[in-house]
Symmetry: C2
Subunit: 378 residues, 2 copies
Amino acid sequence: MTSPARVLVVGAGLVGASIGLGLRPGGTDVLLRDASPTVAAVAADLGAGRLPGPQEPEADEPDLVVVAAPPDVTADLVVELLHRYPRAVVTDVASTKQGVVSRVVADAGSHAARYVGGHPMAGRERSGPMAARGDLFVGRPWVLTPVAGTSVAATALVHRTATRLGAVVVELDPASHDEAVALVSHLPQVAASLVAARLVGAPGQAVALAGQGLRDVTRIAASDPVMWAQILAGNAVPLARQLRLLRADLDRALDALESLEVAAEQGSGATGPGTWTQASVGALARLVADGNAGRATVPGKHGDAPAVWAGVPVLVPDRPGALASLIGTIGEVGVNIEDLRIEHSPGRLTGVAEVSVLPAERDRLVAELRERGWSVPD
Amino acid sequence: MTSPARVLVVGAGLVGASIGLGLRPGGTDVLLRDASPTVAAVAADLGAGRLPGPQEPEADEPDLVVVAAPPDVTADLVVELLHRYPRAVVTDVASTKQGVVSRVVADAGSHAARYVGGHPMAGRERSGPMAARGDLFVGRPWVLTPVAGTSVAATALVHRTATRLGAVVVELDPASHDEAVALVSHLPQVAASLVAARLVGAPGQAVALAGQGLRDVTRIAASDPVMWAQILAGNAVPLARQLRLLRADLDRALDALESLEVAAEQGSGATGPGTWTQASVGALARLVADGNAGRATVPGKHGDAPAVWAGVPVLVPDRPGALASLIGTIGEVGVNIEDLRIEHSPGRLTGVAEVSVLPAERDRLVAELRERGWSVPD
């Protein structure tokens, strides 16, 4: 049950270089290869591994090959590397799995037994080897998608390697994986992009009214277009299914709004309670209520059941040391901070820190903070 | 240019009680009224104002009446109160304005000159007087929507009152206000609800893979359905316009995905680069790129231009005192924390604190933290 002694990482960007950085401290010999010699050199320079020397015999076969290349070349590389290294286990990190797995099974013949599909669910808003971190995978799910013909030993090797990197391994069949990421990753990405795209060309006076809601909904809209086009295209079937379901709900909301619109045009020109119908308002309330129910299923931190932290708002002057002093006080009191959000207000120098703690500790914390002179509204 | 000496707040929930709490320390006599005597009593008990005594002459007219009742009864109340208090200025806090303003202008005759539409852009996930805070409006935009017939003195009084509460007053015409909130508030609310609604009944193994992206996109999906049904219905015309534009973008993305889907069905059953077309992948990349452009327009904190903080990730053990110690160190170094997000990982007890600071201070902070033994990846 040892980790691989020699790992070849093909693709030395964010994920590949992070794998190298994470494995080398354990003594693994990490070899780096990249279509861009510069990327490979930068990753090696950062300590993610070494470049194969000119005299390096190809026959010094790695125990494990990790294909961490862009999704659109992953399957071809996996097949090629399975042939080149006839004893190595090969895995990949592409964010959709059915396309890659079916291609490899179809094209690699009996070699496919040594291939284990993988998807570490970790990323950053930045990309490239400069953004790599040896702890990128710590505590994150790493999905493996072995199929009927996959060697148990191959799966075990990849499993051990992912665990060594601190990841929590989850085994799913490729189709279930792709359905899952369509729902929890690709659908929110598309929704964030769709909302953010509406802001292009909007009047400054409108966008100036934006609050934390818009900021949260659109945060991931800042993601890389070329990478995401590959990811979305690679999961077209399950994603289209999710988007059609979303569109049906959207159409119901639009029907409700449009019936209110028609009533408004026949009336004063603006909507108001006088023109509302039970059906229209009911449909809108149902949409929001369905959202409540869905939101309640989203796990909180630690992969646990939905977070039920208690929030404690505390006023914090926006200057060096103020937040430190607050957090220091909370530490003295012995309460663990489960989450912390700072909500600054436009045009003012006071922020509100929303401190999340275990519900059982909330009242004590509020009392202790107030006793120490902190302003805890409510 | 003094503040009002006597204010009648009609509707003693979150917003009404917060107005009372914010005005009373300045010496304003705040009277509270609510359709629910219990709500009024709770708000008074919290210090938001006093209940009119049985002997209180109706003739002791308030200088300002604030209607902080649900949107669907706001216009009727405004008209009624303009008649009952023939010298008072009347304002409201409903989150859409054209419907209320046009109703008041149509129904209140010359009295309408004393009405100033208002919308404080502040709220909480909780509602009711127990959630009220005197600082609820500090630093938040407070939109006023005076129209041609509105008395300048009336607008000035409401302006002063909102400023007294710490708000940043913005004047807009009612239609521009409603267009703006449709875009920056109601559209993200609907999108968050639509995405969250898709999670209802989803397999646990799928939702377990959720990360911060899904959590951010769906956070506001936890909002109150009945209140939001009124808000959305009250802004049906501009919101429907925004949703139709979003649906057109969604349809383009779906067209692209469906052409990939057809190609997949004719091929291996799964999509892959071999079946991708330039047009399809290009359409998906354009959607994400448009989202990038829109996201870049979203103001950061302090109502400034988009935030360009530099992020410094620091590993933090998940135990009481660890975060305190980190923040304490940053305070000692003299760097101001502009924002802070704690990213815990499922199944692991170490979190990553993403500390946002001014870009000019980033390198110094990283060096100082490392010198003090903190693990700062990168």
